[in-house]
């Protein structure tokens, strides 16, 4: 099976005046379809840079990054935008919902940029994504009428609506209370069980434990690539639910 993500010696250097900052110094790994991967690391480790590269928000200074067969390092701006639209669903810490738009309109947005002209088809697809995250009864609500956990669910529905190859979540529980966090992590687990590939960037070990695989980044390098055994995880999940 072709991997969803193939990273080969991925490096990213930022020029800050005369100073060249090496945020990422050559990282290689593969992620297969259906995996649930957590990326961990202290702040300044380069995990955010890795996240931005994987999300096609920027291109590597060196190395190759292949996303679902796409040589990302060779794409131009418009092709990157199209790749973000088709291949990736983003979930952010700040939710980033449009405050004046309803949940349905927020979820519709990637379809609009994807060029779907049929409004009814868009709404139909958006409604299904909202149903998938359990918000069938909140479609006409605006973000401020929803709880934090519900807002993040809307954001997840928005990430899923274009049926991307990859769900990319950056500290998705960072702004949520522990109860909502547990709900969102459980939702990721359900979506992954349906076959959706999920990559989750976090610095919370509890959150990372939900994943099947943990990549740890330190000083711009891949420090460890661990796969907790199958029997460890359900235990962890039980423990987390006890919060």
């Amino acid at each position: 099976m072709q991997p969803i993500i193939q990273a080969r010696d991925l490096a990213r250097t930022y020029q800050m005046g005369d100073l060249a900052v090496e945020a990422l110094r050559g990282v290689s790994f593969d992620i297969q379809p259906g995996e649930f991967v957590a990326i961990m690391g202290p702040s300044g480790s380069g995990k955010t840079t890795l996240m931005n590269l994987m999300g096609c928000l920027e291109t590597p200074s060196a190395g190759q990054y292949t996303l679902d067969g796409l040589p990302v390092e060779r794409l131009d701006k418009d092709e990157l935008a199209a790749a973000r639209n088709r291949k990736i669903g983003f979930v952010f810490q700040q939710f980033n919902l449009l405050p004046r738009s309803t949940a349905l309109a927020n979820v519709e947005l990637p379809l609009i940029y994807g060029g779907e002209r049929n409004r009814a088809a868009r709404r139909e697809q958006a409604a299904r994504a909202l149903e998938a995250v359990g918000l069938a009864d909140r479609m006409e609500h605006r973000p401020r009428e929803l709880s934090g956990g519900q807002q993040q669910r809307v954001a997840i529905a928005r990430a899923l609506v274009n049926q991307p190859a990859l769900l990319l979540a950056d500290e998705p529980t960072g702004n949520l209370d522990s109860h909502s966090s547990a709900e969102i992590i459980a939702l990721f687990g359900q979506l992954n069980a349906q076959g959706i590939t999920i990559i989750l960037v976090t610095h919370e070990a509890d959150v990372a434990r939900a994943a099947h695989r943990v990549l740890t980044i330190r000083d711009g390098l891949l420090a460890s690539d661990q796969r907790p055994t199958e029997d460890q995880r359900p235990e962890d999940q039980r423990r987390r639910r006890a919060f």
């Binding site: 099976m1 072709q2 796409l70």
Partner: protein
């Protein structure tokens, strides 16, 4: 959800270019961009209105000015025919700077004898009609109703030379002139003012306390650039001189008249008639063939119209410059608010880019927003401008006429302003780095 069919663990290679998404893929539609822009603008109506205010005022000014300019042009054109075509007006005094002659002798007034000389075909063969006229202002009363009016003392030729016609009654004739009869012919509007029942003929009015019998009422001509004859009163020249206003020439002591209207045979003979009039009057006023300037002036309608057109043009130019400045300020206002808006919506822009918005999509969205602002402002301004034009017409203060060309110009200029001042904010929005934008607080 697993949409990969390939089973090989292929690494990066040329074959993977096949899966590359085409940048020519259709993105967001124009209709969607417009919808988003309008939603954004409607979300903050007061700010939108204030932002568009400069363009509203500028376009309103342009539309109103063009309408008033057009209206006065039409009025000038009409007054040519109304006041009689091929009309020459002879007045005392030269038209030099300040109106003073440089010769030592005092300026001679025009007299009835001058008019008689001009009416002689031996002197001015190219004149068709000659009408000596004298003017004075008076208070006119009919019982309790009173008004002030210009009183013109004239002869029987007045009616024809000024393209006037009688509504009722009769005009001044030789008998009235010879006897200096206390009779008056009323302009159409002053007649209705003094006699609302329309029964003026045969009644008596008082002018400056003296009694005159109304013998006729003129047909209304409508306003002209030179004050409306509808508000005036015409009396026999001799009557005016004897009872209301007797100006005498300072040197000769003869009764003077204000002007002599001369109608040339046709337009082609305006110049020759002017020359004949000048020669005749110079001889009568004993001016040498050369060396001294005229102590009178001969104007034709065209000169007058040219002067009026010129001054109107100058005024339009000044007002137009003010309107242009207003539009410029309006455009800068739009640019300012759009720049603020781009800053405020940095995270929104970052999100739109993250979920697949291309630079041109963001550019289009903000450009459409600026265009919607300026075009909406332009349409509102058009409404205000047309209202001003209609108001001017209804109130009778001025004549205004809105042409399709001026409407197209105003709206076109408004759109151009939106495009011009919207491009920089839109470009900034489009070029935002999505990573930075998403992190913006």
């Amino acid at each position: 959800m697993i949409n990969e069919t390939s089973t090989t663990q292929s690494s990066v290679g040329p074959s993977s270019f096949v899966a590359r998404p085409s940048s020519k893929e259709r993105g967001i539609s124009l209709a969607e961009s417009l919808r988003i822009a309008l939603e954004t603008l409607m979300a903050n109506k007061l700010r939108t209105l204030l932002t568009a205010l400069g363009v509203i005022i500028g376009v309103a000014a342009v539309v109103a000015l063009l309408a008033l300019g057009r209206g006065s042009q039409e009025q000038i054109a009409e007054s040519i025919t109304k006041n009689g075509a091929n009309l020459l007006t002879v007045r005392a005094g030269s038209v030099g700077a300040g109106g003073f002659t440089s010769s030592g002798g005092a300026t001679r007034s025009l007299t009835i004898e001058d008019a008689k000389a001009l009416a002689d075909p031996a002197n001015v063969p190219d004149a068709a009609l000659v009408s000596p006229e004298t003017m004075t202002f008076g208070t006119v009363t009919n019982g309790a109703k009173d008004t002030s009016a210009m009183i013109t003392g004239a002869t029987a030729t007045y009616l024809k030379i000024h393209n006037d016609a009688l509504e009722q009654g009769e005009f001044i004739d030789e008998g009235h002139l010879n006897g200096a009869a206390p009779v008056a012919v009323l302009g159409g509007r002053i007649a209705s003012t003094l006699f609302p029942d329309g029964d003026a003929v045969g009644k008596t009015i008082k002018v400056n306390g003296k009694r005159f019998k109304v013998i006729g009422v003129l047909k209304r001509k409508g306003g002209s650039m030179f004050g409306s004859a509808d508000d005036g009163i015409v009396m026999p020249l001799s009557t005016v001189q004897r009872t209301l206003s007797a100006n005498r020439d300072a040197s000769t002591g003869k009764l003077s008249i204000e002007e002599i209207a001369v109608q040339a045979r046709d337009e082609a003979h305006l110049a020759s008639a002017t020359a004949q009039i000048k020669a005749t009057l110079r001889e009568r006023h004993r001016l040498p063939q050369s060396g001294e300037s005229d102590d009178f002036s001969v104007d034709n309608q065209q000169n007058l119209i040219d002067t009026l057109t010129q001054s109107r043009r100058t005024m339009t130019l000044y007002l137009g410059a003010i309107a242009a400045i207003s539009l410029l300020v309006g455009g800068i206002g739009i640019m300012n608010i759009m720049l603020v808006s781009v800053r405020e919506r940095t995270r929104e822009i970052g999100l739109r880019k993250a979920i697949g918005g291309r630079e041109r999509d963001i550019l289009t969205q903000f450009l459409i927003e600026a265009l919607a602002l300026s075009t909406g402002g332009g349409l509102l301004g058009l409404l205000v401008g047309v209202s001003i034009a209609v108001g001017a017409n209804v109130s009778g203060q001025a004549r205004a006429s809105v042409t399709p060309a001026s409407v197209a110009l105003a709206v076109g200029v408004a759109m151009a302003i939106g495009l011009f001042f919207g491009i920089e904010p839109a470009r900034r929005a489009a070029q935002l780095d999505p990573i930075e934008a998403l992190r913006y607080e």
